[in-house]
């Protein structure tokens, strides 16, 4: 898989720092599944985190904290295996990070001609909503702008807009300044994971009619 479009560096940095909300985290983690280069960048940023941590000024630990901890060590069992994924949700959609397997599964629902949506319900309240979007070949997505931002990870198929062509593994970041006029140009369905804050603003009469249907 050749990935051409990546998340901006500061977003990869915030992912490594653990300072983005879960919805955005899901989008970046999805990109990382298919992008070794960005996995390398995140790992480098974790090294930066380690360097920042190691150089922080120390704060004195409370009295007796080490002794209390020592007593706990006696009872500690050793963890010898990394945590394993649980659950098989979304396992029919290739390219998603494994931890989504434990989320509540959902099914595709029709939202517009040739467009289906499948919500990913996060286990915690998040300002960012996440869903899968499946569009048939030749679909023109209704022209829209955003009040917040929209991260799109292509899982299969491809689409084009003014910013170029986006295929499997590619990451597209849209914000209020982008007027999206998207066309699905693949032979098969195009499936994307979308993480979105704010609302879509659909342009045109049809858009305004569809607006209530597309609101999640």
């Amino acid at each position: 898989m050749t990935v051409h479009h990546h998340p901006p560096d500061e977003l990869l940095g915030a992912f490594a720092a653990g300072t983005i909300d879960l919805g955005q985290h899901v989008a970046i983690a999805t990109h990382l599944v298919g992008c070794a280069k960005c996995r390398g960048a995140v790992r480098a940023m974790e090294h930066v985190g380690g360097a920042v941590l190691a150089a922080l000024p120390p704060s004195a630990m409370s009295d007796g904290s080490f002794e209390a901890l020592q007593r706990r060590l006696d009872e500690a069992s050793e963890t010898s295996a990394p945590v394993q994924r649980r659950g098989r949700a979304f396992s029919d959609v290739p390219g998603l990070p494994e931890f989504l397997g434990s989320y509540p599964d959902s099914s595709w629902r029709w939202i517009a001609p040739k467009v289906h949506l499948r919500p990913i319900r996060l286990p915690e309240p998040s300002a960012t909503r996440v869903f899968l979007l499946k569009s048939s070949p030749g679909t023109r997505m209704i022209e829209h702008t955003h009040t917040g931002f929209e991260m799109t990870c292509v899982l299969s198929g491809s689409f084009v807009h003014a910013g170029g062509q986006f295929g499997p593994g590619d990451f597209d970041l849209g914000d209020g300044s982008v007027d999206h006029d998207i066309r699905i140009d693949s032979v098969d369905d195009c499936i994307c994971l979308v993480a979105m804050q704010g609302d879509l603003k659909l342009n045109g009469v049809l858009g305004r009619l569809l607006q209530p249907l597309i609101r999640m």
Partner: protein, 195 residues
């Protein structure tokens, strides 16, 4: 072995890695005590700067070192640096603590760990020793202008949203964003040689 010059950062990183391995292989309490002395007070600082109370920060620092003890055998010096590994443990605990504060029930540490687990295919820098990456990161950081370094540092503390960084440093929000972008691009460039 425990008395290498503290200002020699390269040997510090190698020493921490050896200490973690000593904990993993021999359940070495002295090695653990050395890790505790260096990292617990710094994790406490990280937690406090991320908005935790002094007491919570203390508890989280203890918990982080407890996890260093119980997960030591999972530390792979070939794929992670010691400080980076401990940082990820602290980061995951902090995310977890924030979830508990928001009373999100199903949250435990292993869930957060899963969320950061990456299906590591071959990494672009797979052939490069961790110590080289660590040295490279240190060099890259030392080459950053102070003003960019401050922003990078602050970006690692949760709840230090960009707006708060701007307030803390008394600079406009746009400047925070552009400095962060510059710093990240620069780090990326310096580190990209591995790919």
């Amino acid at each position: 072995m425990l008395n290498e010059t503290p200002d020699n950062e390269t040997s510090d990183a190698a020493r921490w890695a050896r200490l973690i391995e000593a904990v993993a292989i021999r359940r070495d309490r002295e090695a653990f005590a050395a890790l505790f002395r260096h990292f617990a007070p710094r994790i406490k600082t990280l937690m406090q700067r991320s908005g935790a109370s002094e007491q919570l920060a203390d508890e989280l620092a203890q918990e982080a070192l407890f996890l260093v003890w119980s997960k030591a055998s999972l530390f792979d010096p070939k794929s992670a640096g010691a400080a980076a590994w401990i940082f990820t443990i602290a980061r995951n605990l902090r995310i977890d603590a924030l979830r508990r504060q928001k009373r999100i029930p199903a949250s435990d540490t292993s869930e957060t760990e899963l969320e950061f687990q990456r299906d590591e295919g071959p990494l672009p820098d797979a052939g490069v020793a961790t110590s080289q990456i660590e040295a490279r990161v240190r060099d890259a950081l030392s080459l950053l202008p102070d003003e960019q370094m401050r922003v990078v540092e602050l970006s690692f503390f949760h709840e230090t949203a960009h707006a708060e960084i701007a307030r803390a440093l008394d600079i406009p929000l746009g400047t925070v964003k552009s400095r962060l972008r510059l710093a990240m691009a620069r780090l990326r460039n310096l580190l990209d040689d591995f790919s």
